[in-house]
Amino acid sequence: MARLGLLALLCTLAALSASLLAAEPKSKSCSEVRRLYVSKGFNKNDAPLYEINGDHLKICSQDYTCCSQEMEEKYSLQSKDDFQTVVSEQCNHLQAIFASRYKKFDEFFKELLENAEKSLNDMFVKTYGHLYMQNSELFKDLFVELKRYYVAGNVNLEEMLNDFWARLLERMFRLVNSQYHFTDEYLECVSKYTEQLKPFGDVPRKLKLQVTRAFVAARTFAQGLAVARDVVNRVSVVNPTAQCTQALLKMIYCSHCRGLVTVKPCYNYCSNIMRGCLANQGDLDLEWNNFIDAMLMVAERLEGPFNIESVMDPIDVKISDAIMNMQDNSVQVSQKVFQGCGPPKPLPAGRISRSISESAFSARFRPYHPEQRPTTAAGTSLDRLVTDVKEKLKQAKKFWSSLPSTVCNDERMAAGNENEDDCWNGKSKSRYLFAVTGNGLANQGNNPEVQVDTSKPDILILRQIMALRVMTSKMKNAYNGNDVDFFDISDESSGEGSGSGCEYQQCPSEFEYNATDHSGKSANEKADSAGGAPAEAKPYLLAALCILFLAVQGEWR
């Protein structure tokens, strides 16, 4: 009977213990956390009404928490999405600037060439009439080559212009000596002789220099805008690493698990995480700034002596200057050529009369009415285009090194600089004590918030750095008035192809890396599962201990 009484007492104690355990979770409400969680479109059943034991959490604090395991997983995905959204917004804005400016420049340059060709045709029909129309394909070919150069490169401008002047000389030489018949061999001799005589004056030399410089600068600048657009487009797609994702979750949503739904992350805390997550993008900054400086230098040239508008607008007048020089010098030139190349053969009498007839036919006089300079579809002159782009370029400097700060300045991401003592520091609402790390991959070895593998730079970023470096080099050549060997474009294309292949080759490596990470997660999960079981068994353990204690006491008695 005494034993029965003892058993009854033990049962009573056990019941009391269970009652105490059940009472503790009711001490804090999670209603606000739950409301925000549901407002993001998540399942309300995931969110507990009162704080629970946090042993099931992987990243956030395992103290008493308002987050279930499902909540932590969903918050992890959400924080990654929030991060990608903010970064993407910044990059898309910059990318749109370069895309629109490239389009404007491209339209302007192409329309400038069209207008120049039309202007030349109009002028030459007036001044040279029938003789021009008989030989107009010569000038059409010139513009075809100029357009081809701008669109595709692969045109040696100097050789092309030399060829143009040689053909023009040949035509004019026939015309001013229409009483003769010239064989191809004779004309070849004429060409060699006239190299010294300069029948067109200094126009060919000047025009060659001006056209080459202006076209190289214009094409390189337009290509630079396109490269900038593409680089930003590629880099804006950010895939955070596992360590970055953990840090983001901790920064953005772990405060919710503590019930601190209105406390923003500390600015410096955010900066460290962003510098860790955007480490590779930070390494882009040096080459990006060099690229922007080179673009600004070429822009200066485009506004100054390499202004393609001031070269192409009057190109009809310049070529006409050359033709007039040849016309003025034709007697002396012909005499010297005849001395050097020997007397040419006269034409039969019938052809002579026909030539006279043609000359009579071509004689005409028209009053010239000056026209206003044609306006391109862009509705602007080159000066205004360049001035506008220069402003945008200056604003784009340091974009990649300031991207972490820009992201942290977004009110969705962090508290401002003024809330340094009352902000979320990853553990509590307090001050953030760590120093801000430097930009770039090499500086992330000591990042206290994000574990970064500094030995593995991002291949995509490295390729963008190389693309910028190549374009910067072309830009500097264009600035110095040097023609650029654009055959490396094909190398660049094949390089990109190799890059794609490289990406595929890197896939196994990346897969291995992911596999390692995955196995790590699996191990963690197993550990958590093992840890979970003891947690679940805690009430029984306590009861057993109580029983044991009482038993020992009994024995002592």
Binding site: M123, K126, T127, Y128, G129, L131, R205, K206, L209, Q210, R213, R301, G304, P305, F306, N307, E309, S310, P314, V317, K318, S320, D321, I323, M324, Q327, S362, A363, F365, R366, P367, Y368, P370, Y479, N480, G481
Partner: protein
């Protein structure tokens, strides 16, 4: 003896200091042939004598333009020697001296005013011409045409960018004229007068386009005048230069010297006039201190009553006459076809030189 020797050395040092302090030594750019190939040897900026730090920076930053600057100074000196060829002081240069005109320009004379103006104009002119040549990557034609095309013509050719040339001249020539003394003020004024002359004499040149002398289309462009016209104009300004007096004022930065017209009844000088405030020395007799070479043995014009005539040029000392035999081509005949043959004749000239 020692005190006397020390005194002599000190005098020389002070004299040298005075000469180098105010003299535009960079005019010696005109002498060195190596300066015209600066582009391939950029380090030579440091070896150009007399450059002040600002000019040195300019040289290094715009090495491409420096040959034009050197050419411009040379052009100025040549024009000076042409304009003063018949005068007592004829712009003689001293080949082995950095002060290429000697001490004659140390004083704030009319001659100094002219040389500053013509050198400054020469630099502006040569740089502008070089830009129009089209070889420079820093400058080119002036595409901001000043004014709309007129009736029956349109812009063509290469409008010379004289504003750029003037800018370079101002940047380089005035770099050392930032002292608060009267000489600095005078030099700046005269330098600017030379540059303004270039801008004032820009004119439209035109060309007809069309078959066989017709003028279906006419094109025009802005062009500099021949530099001789600039020299003629500045020579007139030299003849009518305004004499000034020096005034001192206390300003926040200390004493500042400015120039005021000496004679209130005369028209005050404009920015296009030359100014001076010291009298010219007597150039009749040689005087090492003033830099005068004298007019002895100078060729003079016996039939002229002007400054180049023997009476005035020889300062009343009289002249000598000698005969010279010169070989010249004469009786040239054109032979069909095609050469010219000439005979060689001897002709006797009278040459008059000052005693």
């Amino acid at each position: 003896m020692e005190p006397h020797l020390l005194g002599l050395l000190l005098g020389l040092l002070l004299s040298g200091t005075r000469v180098l302090a105010g003299y535009p030594i960079w005019w010696s750019l005109a002498l060195g042939q190596q300066y015209t190939s600066l582009a391939s040897q950029p380090l030579l900026c440091g070896s150009i004598p007399g450059l002040v730090p600002k000019q040195l920076r300019f040289c290094r930053n715009y090495i491409e333009i420096m040959p034009s600057v050197a050419e411009g100074v040379k052009l100025g000196i040549q024009e000076c020697q042409h304009q003063f060829r018949g005068r007592r002081w004829n712009c003689t240069t001293i080949d082995d001296s950095l002060a290429i005109f000697g001490p004659v320009l140390d004083k704030a004379t009319r001659e100094s005013a002219f040389v500053h103006a013509i050198a400054s104009a020469g630099v502006a002119f040569a740089v502008t011409r070089s830009c129009a040549e089209g070889t420079s990557t820093i400058c080119g034609c002036d595409s901001h045409h000043k004014g709309p095309p007129g009736e029956g013509w349109k812009w063509g050719g290469c409008s010379e960018d004289a504003d750029f040339g003037v800018l370079v001249s101002r940047e380089f020539a005035d770099a050392r004229e930032n002292r608060p003394d009267a000489r600095s003020a005078m030099n700046k004024h005269n330098n600017e007068a030379g540059r303004t002359t270039i801008l004032d004499h820009m004119h439209l040149k035109c060309k007809c386009h069309g078959l066989s002398g017709s003028c279906e289309v006419k094109t025009c462009w802005w062009a500099q005048p021949d530099f001789r016209a600039i020299g003629d104009f500045l020579k007139d300004k030299y003849d009518s230069a305004s004499e000034m007096v020096v005034e001192k004022h206390r300003e926040s930065r200390g004493w500042v010297e400015t120039l005021r017209a000496k004679y209130a009844l005369f028209k005050p000088p404009t920015e296009r006039d030359l100014v001076y405030y010291e009298n010219s020395p007597n150039f009749c007799e040689p005087n090492p201190e003033t830099g005068s070479f004298g007019t002895r043995d100078r060729t003079c014009n016996v039939t002229s009553h002007g400054i180049d005539g023997c009476d005035l040029l020889c300062c009343g000392r009289g002249h000598n006459t000698r005969t010279e035999k010169r070989k010249e081509k004469c009786h040239c005949v054109f032979h069909w076809c095609c050469y010219v043959s000439c005979q060689e004749c001897i002709r006797i000239y009278d040459v008059h030189t000052c005693k």
